[in-house]
């Protein structure tokens, strides 16, 4: 910003300042998500969902006479940036809560800052169980998203349901991967099956052939994948190179949908059986009317009017619901005091959301709004759109 522009802005602010003093300050919701890195698509979905909810709230006069405003920061998947973003948001007294984004490791690292600043942290997309099951008291973290504890059991259940008996775990070497290892292992043991093997990979891996060879040598009949879009796409491409009978089916966590996975995987996507965890789809929403409304608002605000044009819809739905729940909590709190809002979040009841109807999203002992009943498998269609996986589409083992 050059000097002239700065002076004009300052002058304008000075001129308008008196007017602003007359108006109630907005209720700022901070968004700290991966907006540009490997899960940028998920971050954008979260942003849109939040904006749609804010739009609706503001259209209804806001809450307590105050309009909502979304302020976005990009942590790029870097916990250090996430921490700094939380610190910046916390310094702004207008920020009532922070909406988180992908990834679990970032969320985990932000917990200290969140609880130091005592600012409510709403998680629409980070499944790591410890995010919510932390040691902080009072707990300022609230999640309307997948909880790995449930996801692991769900995915193992899907393995069994589809007749696989020897899943191999292919996990990213992150806290998220470790979280899922714990959950999946527990579920596998609970179902009296045995994992063929567990293989790890790092972010930025450029070759998963050794892991695939290991999985095949171990006799796996299905791959349980916990990865983000880049590594997931790499797996697909690596499997596609194998002979058809050697390509193992993949049942994945939802991480691969946070990025532009179809584009990353390319045409090889059609060569591999891939299904993944989802919690919402515009193609089979629990409330079609609400879904339609949201879709219309999406169309109004962002120009994309077809459900097929909305990638990472789970993020959108979760963020939408969390913002509305926050609005209810602020109203209950009678103000934007963060601590009071936190307490009010636990008291919100009877929320009919886009994701699902929630009798009480959060309680003092439960800060995860969703459970396995909200889970479903999805798949990519030929156009790269996420659609619910039809049961009939599932291959028999």
């Amino acid at each position: 910003m050059n000097c002239i522009t700065r002076y004009i802005s300052l002058l304008t602010a000075l001129i308008l300042a008196p007017f602003q003093l007359l108006a109630a300050p907005p209720i700022v919701i901070g968004l700290d998500a991966d907006m540009s890195s490997i899960a940028a698509q998920g971050g954008e979905a979260i942003r849109r969902g939040a904006l749609i909810a804010i739009h609706e709230l503001n259209q209804n006069g806001g809450v307590l006479g105050r309009q909502f405003e979304l302020r976005v920061k990009d942590h790029r998947g870097n916990p250090a940036r996430g921490i700094d973003n939380i610190d910046d948001f916390a310094l702004d007294s207008n920020v009532v809560a922070v909406l988180g984004g992908v990834h679990t490791p970032v969320a985990l690292r932000e917990l200290s800052s969140i609880h130091r600043h005592r600012i409510p942290y709403l998680v629409p997309w980070a499944a790591g169980t410890p995010i919510i099951d932390n040691d902080f008291e009072p707990n300022f973290a609230f999640r309307l998203s997948v909880r790995d504890q449930y996801a692991g059991a769900f995915l193992v259940e899907q393995v069994l349901k589809r007749g696989y008996s020897k899943p191999a775990l292919l996990l990213e070497q992150t806290p998220w991967g470790k979280s899922n290892l714990k959950a999946m292992t527990k579920a596998i043991q609970a179902n009296s099956i045995e994992a063929a093997t567990v293989e790890w990979f790092n972010w930025g891996a450029d070759d998963l052939t050794p892991q695939i060879d290991s999985l095949r040598r171990a006799g796996a009949d299905v791959i349980l994948l916990v990865a983000n879009a880049p590594e997931g796409a790499l797996l697909i491409k690596s499997l596609a190179k194998l002979a058809e009978e050697q390509r193992l089916p993949v049942i994945s966590h939802w991480g691969i949908t946070g990025g532009n996975f179809p584009a990353m995987a390319g045409p090889e996507l059609d060569k591999v059986q891939l299904s993944f965890l989802q919690t919402f789809s515009f193609f089979n929403p629990p409330d079609r009317e609400l879904a339609g409304q949201v879709l219309r608002h999406h169309c109004d605000l962002f120009g994309a009017c077809d459900a097929a044009d909305i990638p990472a819809s789970v993020g959108l739905a979760h963020a939408y619901d969390l913002v509305h729940i926050l609005g209810r909590a602020i109203e209950l709190a009678g103000g934007t005091d963060r601590a009071l809002v936190r307490d009010a979040l636990e008291k919100v009841q009877n929320y009919h959301g886009l994701t699902r109807h929630l009798d009480q999203p959060f309680t003092p002992t439960r800060h995860d709004a969703l459970d396995a009943s909200s889970f479903q498998l999805g798949q990519f269609d030929n156009g790269g759109t996420v659609r619910p996986l039809k049961t009939s589409n599932l291959p028999e083992s």
Binding site: S37, G77, N78, P79, A80, Q173, T174, P175, N202
Partner: protein
Amino acid sequence: MLNMSPGMPSLLRQVAIRVLPAAIFIMLLIWITVGHVSDRVFQAEIDAKLKQQAEDQAIFARTRLENLVTNVRDIAGNDLIVNGLIDLDADTNYLKPFIRSIAIDGLSGIPIALTDYRGRLIAGKQLTAWRQSDLAQWNEQVSQGQPVVALKDGALFIGVPVYIGQFIEGMLAVRFLPEQVHHLLNPVGVNGQIDLISIDEQAVADGQVWPSEAMNTSAQVELALPESNNLKLLSTIRAATVSNASLYFQWFMLIAFILDLVALICGIFAAVYLVIGPLNRFIDQLRNSQREKGIGLFDVDKGPLEIRLLAEAFNRFVSTEQKLLQEQSDQAERLKTALEREKELNGLQRQFVSMVCHEFRTPLAIIDGNAHRLLRRHQTMQPGRLEEALGKIRLSVTRLTDLMESVLSAARLESGTIKFEPESCDPAKMIQEVVSNHQEINPGYKLIVDLEQMPAHFTMDIKLMRQVVSNLLSNAIKYSPEDTHVWIEASSTDDGGLICSVRDEGVGIPAAELDRLFERFFRASTSTGIAGTGIGLHMVKALVALHCGNVDVKSEEGKGTTFSVYLPCRQYEMIESMPDKAAAA
């Protein structure tokens, strides 16, 4: 083997004194010049090779360093991103297992810091005490995507960007110890040493990374690392191990110098044996010859051709010189003789002039005296006295006339104007007339004539012969005391010639002076006190020589002299008088 003449040692010494130092000086000059030139010529090559080797080694070291950096980047990219930035368990030791795998030729780096996107230390603070400013500075560069390669206390630090997705979200710094750095940059077999030097002057001043002064290097190449703006690779190469070209050449020159010296010494001995020896003998012979014979020729029939040719040329030179000297000597002698003769002639001429003047003076005095007496006393003088006086006057006139005739004749003879006109005449008659004339004026003398054997006719120049007879008769009378006899005899000879002799009983002529009697102006020592010009006999000889005759003289001092004139019978041609040749004959 070597014929050493007495002068040989001094000659050798001369050669040694003059030649050897010059030769040694020249060889040294050549050695120095060539050495200098070779240094210049080869120094450029050495420098180029040194520089090339230094550059190659620096490039090699940089490649190894780049590989190390790449290794660190790979580690950071693959193993560390997730575990370092995403999953930090607050256990700083977790870095070590990953960084241990950073290996290049067995090197093992020590992770020292993991920073976030703002350069804040995430992990590693317990591993080393780092200046935050260093990390912040490195982070700034790493955030641009460029690794950092830095030196601190001799240790190498590599900072690489840590990516999350496509974004640089942190930095991993790894340290390699100084000995590891040395091993990294200087594998076995490298001639020289490669050091990392820091542009940071403090690091240089610390002396931690500066090459050892004992390296004695002659080539250094600084190779900046492109990934870092604060480090350079300094490659130093030992000059002795790069190229031996100059050394070989200098060894060659040294050997060549020694060989040249040996060749020089052999050459000197060869020169002494082949040249100087014969030359020395030549010189000795010359000296001996000079000592014994003066400048003389000598024989050289041995020795080298050059010496023989030299001797022959010398001989010719000497001969020519001798001839010239002899000619000069002869000419000098002739000049000396001529000079002496000229002096003598001048003396004689002066004497002649003096004598002529005296001769003229006496009769003139007599004439004058008698004339004066007659003038004073003619009236009282007795007739006999008058006749006497007149007779004396007349006699003096005759004497003057004869004297003038003699002088004129001498002059004509000297100038070559005497005409020789021989004709047939009566010689007896001529002689009789001359005798009569002289008898008349010299009555005190007894003139005896014997002309019985005279031919009636004889071809001769009567005028000149009259003068001859007159001179001889005049001398006979003059140099004889009065009242003595003078015999005049003439007769024909068997070959048809004529001989005439005039004998007196006069003072005679010393035998030693007879040979000079006919020289112009010469007067015998016995003529002292007697008037005479000294030209009469010279005239006699010349005039007789015109007739191809000769004059002979016999004399005995104190007793008398006999002059004999011989005229051959000839038919004469007209010959102009040549008095010098006639006198010389």
